[in-house]
């Protein structure tokens, strides 16, 4: 009798304990789900990244590089929009941050005021892809736009014969280059010299990603003398390349693209684009944080960090991809 009575007793006892343990486990699960899972680790400094809200790969890569550096240097990183209508940058000096990486896509005077407020609040600042006139020592991390122009010119020299008539399409989407479009033009001129039939024509696209498509149509139809079109924005490059294909002008008009999107690299590989300009935004973001960290830790840092520019041609696409994959 006892033996038969023990069996259900042991079974029920076991099930009771099992469901008790499961219930405890569920409560822990529930607490874990509802708790702040992303509760981060403590960090040394709080840096803020002020970038335009546009979802361009350039800014994404800048942010990515900044994240990598923040992780390496154990710094917290908050992201804020910058641009017209956003008060974040204006209020930055109240926010308790230790440093700010700013892509100054607003009026220079407004930027200067904000930078002074930040400085007054002992907040370190690094500017990326922009040069505010040099009377204030704001550290700068980015590419030298003259170098960009020179390398573009060298590529054109390799691809096209004389006489050359070049159109450079600047964009509001790449305000850093647009702000220094003169330097870009000088670079191109210095590389091509007398081979230019006329100075490079500057064109402009707005924030609309399809604006470049219309612009390219107009140029190809109304300005048949243009032998080479240079783009300074990745979205503009993609839109314009499709127009070139549609108008069956591949090879007739040389296109120099901008950016390292996979589609752009494909175009380069197929010979539709003569090459693409890669400014390495990830490195810009990384070095920006690095400079901020050194400023906070040592009180000084390099005032200027050139992250370089790369021209990728048809023969260099494979090698470029391998390098990028390795990063």
């Amino acid at each position: 009798m006892n033996r038969f009575a023990r069996l259900p007793m042991a079974l029920f006892g076991f099930l009771f304990l099992t469901f008790f343990v499961l219930s405890l486990h569920t409560i822990v699960d529930l607490a874990r789900i509802t708790s702040d899972e992303s509760a981060g680790e403590s960090a040394q400094y709080h840096f803020a990244l002020f970038l335009p809200e546009e979802s361009y790969s350039f800014f994404h890569q800048v942010a990515q590089g900044a994240r990598t550096a923040a992780t390496e240097y154990n710094c917290a990183l908050s992201f804020h929009p910058v641009g017209y209508g956003s008060p974040d940058l204006a209020m930055a000096h109240f926010s308790g941050i230790d440093g700010a990486v700013i892509y100054p896509s607003i009026e220079e005077q407004q930027v200067r005021t904000i930078l002074e407020q930040l400085s007054a609040n002992n907040i370190s600042v690094v500017l990326v892809e922009h040069t505010i006139s040099d009377d204030a020592p704001w550290p700068f991390v980015g590419t030298n736009n003259f170098d960009i122009g020179r390398k573009i010119g060298e590529l054109i020299a390799l691809q096209s014969s004389d006489p050359l008539q070049i159109a450079v399409v600047y964009s509001e989407k790449s305000p850093g280059i647009y702000a220094e479009k003169d330097l870009v033009g000088l670079g191109i001129t210095s590389a091509l010299g007398k081979r230019l039939e006329s100075p490079p024509i500057a064109k402009m696209t707005n924030l609309n990603p399809l604006d470049a498509e219309a612009l390219t149509y107009r140029m190809l139809r109304s300005e048949p003398g243009i032998t080479t079109i240079v783009f300074t924005d990745a979205r503009d490059t993609l839109a314009a390349t499709q127009v070139l294909i549609d108008m069956n002008l591949v090879g007739t008009v040389q296109l120099i693209g901008f950016g390292a999107e996979e589609t752009i690299l494909d175009y380069v590989e197929k010979g539709i684009l003569a090459g693409t300009v890669v400014t390495n935004p990830r490195s810009i973001g990384y070095h920006a944080i690095e400079v901020l960290f050194e400023l906070k830790r040592n009180g000084h840092s390099a005032g200027y960090v050139d992250t370089g520019v790369t021209i990728v041609t048809q023969s260099e696409v494979s090698a470029f991809r391998k390098v990028e994959e390795g990063k």
């Binding site: 219930s23 607490a31 789900i33 702040d36 992303s38 209020m91 109240f94």
Partner: protein, 493 residues
């Protein structure tokens, strides 16, 4: 103490109830925990709502004080400012989490905002109109921005919570189901535990009742009950086992003693039969010693031969000799008429006269009426006479005399054999008159005095004076046999 019935029942009931109470308490605790978890989830949003409300409330007293310098507005402003300052955590750590960083920025902005408030108050008191006007502008912008950021972070928190809402609901349902099953199994466990405990106590009693039934039916061979139960029941079980075993042991002992007694009785009966058989055999043996049939027939032949040769005296001698042997040899009866005994004795006397005509005088005095009215054991007189012939006259050179006399005294018949020989020593007489049991060895001489005495003792065990001897040195010896005529001799086995 721990194994006592009371303690076990107490502990088992307590354990069962504790299990149920524990499970119910746990379910209550888990419900509270669940409520706390959900509450925690929204507590932050409640905090931000309150923070936002307080930030919006401080605008009015700021403007009111800066425009009117009203002490009432200042008091309210200071209260609001203190309320807001108390809502700022003392420690605002830097973490890598975006949400916490946003919180950190809000708290820093709020702290700066409140600093601006204090500065503007100071400027107002100092009548620095341009300064507090500028500060007010900054405060207004910052206040608006703070409200927006709080909205943003609150919305972010709600979105975050909404993202896990479904998971929370699922896990909550799972938790409730598991709690329900835990209560059910806790109840079942407690129930089976109590049943087990009750059974643990009652099972031995049930088995004891069964054993009692078996014992009452007379079956004491059942196995002992071995139960590890409570101490009281164990004591009862042990006592019951002991009682059963003692009863079984006593019954076995009684049967063994009965068996021994039966064996002893059988042995005794067998011994008695053997004893009787031994007596019978001894009697037969004594009588068989006188059974030389060949001699008897030969003597008869001699008698006939003496008659044929006209040797009358020889014939007479041989006839007496034949008579003597007839009485001594052919008689198989144990008790014979006195006549029969006397006739044999007369023939023996005749032979003695022929043998010892000058040295021995034999006389016989027996009243004729007693010869046929009395019976005596066979062969009791002749051995006595023969004993006197052999032993009474050793070393005597005169003529000896042996007389046999029979007379009656009341119901007693007296038989006397007397000689005038050398007598018997006292020690010898005592030895002769000693009764021997049949299992004792003794130096009985066939047909001798001792043999006659012991046979008389055998036939008349209740008469201690059946034989008396009177003797002395050189005074002769008289052996007297006193037989009660009414007493039956012990000859039946």
């Amino acid at each position: 103490m721990k194994r006592s019935l009371r303690m076990q029942l107490f502990l088992n009931i307590i354990l069962g109830l504790v299990t149920i109470v524990f499970s119910m308490s746990y379910v209550f605790f888990s419900a509270m925990e669940l409520q706390e978890i959900v509450d925690t989830q929204f507590r932050k949003e409640q905090f931000y709502q309150k923070l936002q409300l307080e930030i919006s409330r401080i605008r009015t007293p700021i403007l009111s004080y800066l425009s009117s310098r009203s002490s009432k507005a200042l008091a309210e402003l200071l209260i609001r400012e203190q309320t807001l300052r108390q809502m700022i955590p003392k420690e605002i750590p830097v973490t890598t989490d975006a949400y916490q960083l946003a919180e950190r920025e809000i708290f820093f902005m709020l702290r700066n905002y409140l600093d601006l408030v204090e500065e503007s108050i100071a400027f107002k008191r100092g009548r620095s109109i341009g300064e507090y006007t500028r500060k007010y502008e900054e405060m207004k912008n910052l206040n608006a921005y703070l409200t927006t950021r709080i909205d943003t972070i609150s919305l972010s928190g709600i979105r975050k919570q909404l993202a896990v809402y479904e998971s929370v609901i699922d896990v909550s349902r799972e938790l409730q189901l598991r709690n329900l099953l835990m209560i059910v199994f806790s109840f079942l466990f407690s129930l089976t535990w109590m049943l087990f405990s009750i059974n643990k106590v009652t099972d031995p009693m049930h088995r004891l009742a069964q054993m009692a039934g078996e014992l009452s039916a007379g079956n004491f061979e059942i196995e002992d009950i071995h139960i590890s139960a409570v101490s009281e029941v164990e004591a009862v079980v042990e006592a019951f086992n002991d009682m059963k075993n003692d009863i079984r042991h006593n019954i076995a002992e009684i049967q063994r003693q009965k068996s021994i007694e039966q064996g002893y009785m059988n042995e005794k009966l067998r011994n008695l039969k053997m004893e009787q058989l031994l007596k019978r055999m001894e009697l037969y043996t004594m009588q068989a010693q006188m059974n030389p049939h060949f001699l008897f027939n030969t003597i008869n032949t001699g008698v006939q031969l003496a008659i044929v040769e006209d040797a009358e005296k020889t014939a007479e001698f041989m006839e007496h000799l034949a008579t003597f042997f007839r009485h001594n040899i052919r008689e198989r009866k144990l008790i014979v008429p006195l006549r029969h005994e006397i006739e044999g004795l007369r023939s023996y006397f005749y032979i003695l006269k022929i043998r010892f005509p000058k040295t021995l005088d034999c006389r016989l005095d027996v009243p004729e009426p007693l010869l046929d009215s009395c019976s005596v054991p066979a062969l009791i007189l002749q051995p006595l006479v023969e004993n006197s012939v052999i032993h009474a006259f050793k070393g005597v050179h005169r003529k000896g005399s042996i007389s046999v006399k029979v007379w009656k005294e009341g119901k007693m018949i007296m038989l006397s054999v007397r000689d005038d020989g050398i007598g018997i020593a006292k020690e010898m007489m005592d030895s002769l008159l000693k009764r021997y049991s049949w299992d004792q060895e003794h130096t009985s001489k066939v047909m001798g005095l001792e043999n006659v005495i012991q046979r008389l003792y055998f036939f008349y065990p209740d008469n201690p004076d059946i034989v008396t001897i009177q003797s002395g040195p050189d005074r002769g010896t008289e052996v007297v046999i006193s037989i009660d005529m009414e007493e039956e001799p012990c000859i039946k086995f």
